[in-house]
């Protein structure tokens, strides 16, 4: 009888644990799709449009729920920031500026929609290299490539050196990439086609770091070989 009771307890525990796990999985909010379009009209300005789809139970939290967060670089200005729902209706938002970050909050009592878009412009007095992306506080779903970033340059411009994230360039103007999670910034080094030189390709971060790493490994292997003889 004791054996039956023990078995019963174990089975009950397993069932309850399974139900809790399944229940928890269904209640978790996840990022389903994130598509960011970054258009660099000039080397000092970019327009960004981000479409966000979220699945799971939406939150209505107090204080006001956070829609997204952007990195605030000191020499940049973020203008014309607005958020729309899937019907094109503007959502009531509050923009809070803190050190290093710009937080976009939905007005209190409002529900974060399952799909919405964030649009803004970024300008800089000097060349714009780092374009902040709207980061949402929602983990991505397990599907690979939930995040897509598309970049468009001006017709006479080209990206030199290594970009972040690494882009696949369809032509000199249009690039795209797919990732599993949202980067907080897109890094592009844009130049006029006529101004590109061989030095731009030789002295970029990717080339330098690759040479340094392999050089170090080869030298240390050679030293080890000499000492072990």
């Amino acid at each position: 009888m004791l054996e039956h009771k023990r078995r019963g307890t174990i089975i009950a525990t397993l069932v309850v644990t399974t139900l809790l796990c399944v229940g928890k999985a269904f209640s978790v909010v996840q990022l389903e799709k994130y598509v960011a379009q970054v258009g660099m009209a000039t080397p000092q300005a970019a327009d960004v449009s981000v479409s966000i789809s979220v699945k799971g139970r939406p939150t209505t939290a107090t204080p006001a729920p956070l829609l997204c967060r952007l990195v605030r670089y000191p020499q940049q200005e973020i203008h014309k920031l607005q958020v729309e729902d899937s019907y094109g209706q503007l959502l009531p938002i509050t923009i809070v500026s803190v050190d290093g970050s710009l937080e976009v909050q939905l007005s209190e009592g409002k529900e974060i929609p399952a799909q919405y878009s964030v649009r803004y412009s970024v300008t800089s007095a000097r060349q714009l290299r780092r374009i902040p992306l709207a980061v949402v506080d929602v983990p991505p779903s397990a599907s690979e490539g939930a995040v897509e970033i598309q970049t468009t340059l001006a017709s006479d411009d080209v990206s030199v050196g290594s970009s972040f994230p690494a882009m696949e360039w369809r032509d000199h103007q249009h690039g795209s990439t797919r990732l599993g999670s949202i980067p907080s910034v897109v890094v592009l080094n844009v130049k006029h086609i006529r101004d590109v030189s061989i030095l731009d390709r030789l002295f970029d971060v990717s080339t330098i770091s690759t040479f340094l790493m392999f050089g170090f490994v080869l030298i240390s292997s050679f030293v080890w070989y000499l000492r072990s003889r």
């Binding site: 990195v71 290093g100 780092r130 929602v138 991505p140 990732l179 690759t210 072990s228």
Partner: protein, 477 residues
């Protein structure tokens, strides 16, 4: 399959060809069981130091600690002083003295020091169990990494890890793995050191990264853990390092006491460098990718999307190599527990060298497959599994090793009660504190109970011996 995949395949192919070549050379030079387990005691200080660092730096550091810094920020860095204290204790109180005993395994040492074959059996069984837990962490990390690169199911990744580690572990034992560890640590160090400026270049500024992290969660740049919690974690790591069988067995392959001390010094320097880089990697990856789906993916996300393709590939190869190195060390120690201690000293004392070597290699195969089942279930994140294992190792081994090497007296009852009392105290407190959270870490309870039992049983035993000596002398008189 990602764009990194082709680069990774080429880099990994070259690397594993080198590993295979070293394994074959090791096989030719390995004739006896002692050769297999101690490399003929020929390893010098530079390779020795790199080996010690490579043995410790594994998935727990490159996946687990990076992920922990990613998830909790700066405060986890305070665990490193505990690790370094563990190395210092090892350098002064453990390593050189253990080397003098000239034993092959840690259960060997306990059997000799405390004149107890029961202690040998118990410690061998415990090593096998505890290191199976550590293997689960390594396999789980490997599953996460290869799934990120190739999109392959974790089961395949774990089978690949098992097969490739088996190859050079069974071929050459400690001799070949020592030289592979040196190569691997050089790749890890260069990858880590280079990743920091690349991460910084992409984000733009360290101070801005700090502000952005603070905006996400103030605890990331402040105190995620309280002092008591950090002390508990630090203690677990430090004491486990000081008495870690899979580290101590590496001392046996070094030339002499002085070599052990110098090797630990070099290892110390490497760890300081690695610890700093891992901290920066975790924090800057969080700044660049604030929402990865799990903290364990932080390092593979960084390698895939931040580092240049060849550098990222080499880093991932080094990461997998670190996992393999750790798995290799663990398998060597655990299999030696079976072949040398349980089989050679208990089951069949007349076993020949050839038979013991064969048993060793069969054990390695079996032990490498067992953790796969647990790893597929992902009970917890990598760092939490490693912390669990360090608590048990510290509670079981630290007091008997430290006091055994640095004090006199004690017998079979002393060491057995100390080992069992330590691990049972740790286990009981871990279970109890799940429902009754306290500020006392399970490892503190384990160490205290181990120490108390050691001293109490030792003094009782000493008294009994003194009494029986008195009776004998008065009977003789």
């Amino acid at each position: 399959m990602t764009s990194l995949s082709l680069h990774f395949i080429i880099v990994a192919g070259v690397y594993f060809l080198v590993v295979l070549a070293i394994g074959v050379v090791g096989l030719r030079k390995t004739k006896t069981e002692e050769d297999f387990l101690t490399a003929g005691r020929s390893i010098g200080p530079w390779v020795g130091g790199a080996v010690l660092a490579a043995t410790q730096i594994s998935a727990g550091t490159l996946v687990g600690t990076v992920g922990r810094h990613y998830a909790t920020g700066v405060s986890w860095v305070w665990v490193w002083p505990g690790v370094w204290t563990g190395w210092l204790i090892s350098a002064v109180f453990v390593g050189p003295k253990l080397r003098e005993y000239g034993v092959v395994t840690i259960p060997d040492y306990l059997a000799v020091r405390f004149r107890s074959e029961t202690a040998r059996v118990l410690s061998a069984i415990f090593i096998i169990c505890a290191y199976m837990i550590l293997l689960v962490a390594q396999y789980q990390a490997c599953g996460v990494v290869l799934e990120s690169i190739f999109g392959i199911p974790p089961l395949w990744a774990m089978c690949i890890l098992s097969a490739s580690t088996l190859l050079y572990t069974t071929l050459g034992g400690v001799r070949s793995s020592s030289y592979i560890d040196f190569l691997q640590i050089m790749i890890v160090v260069s990858g880590l050191v280079l990743s920091v400026p690349v991460l910084l270049h992409n984000f733009g500024s360290l101070s801005l990264a700090g502000q952005f992290l603070h905006a996400q969660d103030p605890r990331l740049t402040g105190a995620w853990y309280n002092g008591k919690q950090l002390f508990g974690y630090s203690l677990a790591f430090g004491l486990a390092i000081a008495a870690a069988p899979y580290e101590m067995v590496r001392f046996n392959s070094m030339r002499d006491k002085a070599t052990v001390r110098n090797a630990i010094g070099f290892c110390f320097f490497l760890q300081a460098l690695i610890g700093s880089c891992v901290l920066m990697m975790g924090l800057l990856t969080r700044a660049l990718f604030p929402n990865v789906s799990s903290a364990d993916q932080a390092s593979s996300t960084m390698a895939l999307h931040v580092l240049p393709p060849l550098v990222g590939s080499l880093f991932m190869v080094a990461l997998l190599s670190a996992i393999m190195s750790n798995v290799n060390s663990i398998l060597l120690v655990a299999s030696a527990g079976i072949s040398h201690d349980l089989y050679g000293h208990v089951i069949n004392k007349q076993a020949t060298e050839k038979v013991k070597l064969l048993i060793n290699r069969i054990s390695i195969v079996v032990l490498s497959l067992a953790p796969i089942w647990f790893a597929l279930r992902r009970y917890s994140d990598v760092q939490s599994i490693v912390v669990l294992q360090t608590r048990f190792i510290a509670s079981f081994f630290f007091i008997p090793m430290i006091l055994g090497l640095n004090s006199k007296g004690g017998n079979s009852a002393t060491v057995i009660s100390s080992m069992l009392g330590g691990v049972l105290g740790c286990l009981a407190w871990s279970i109890w504190s799940n429902t009754h959270p306290t500020n006392i870490d399970a490892v503190e309870v384990g160490i205290v109970s181990s120490a108390v039992l050691f001293f109490v049983v030792r003094s009782i035993s000493a008294r009994k011996i003194a009494l029986s000596a008195e009776r004998s002398s008065s009977a003789g008189a």
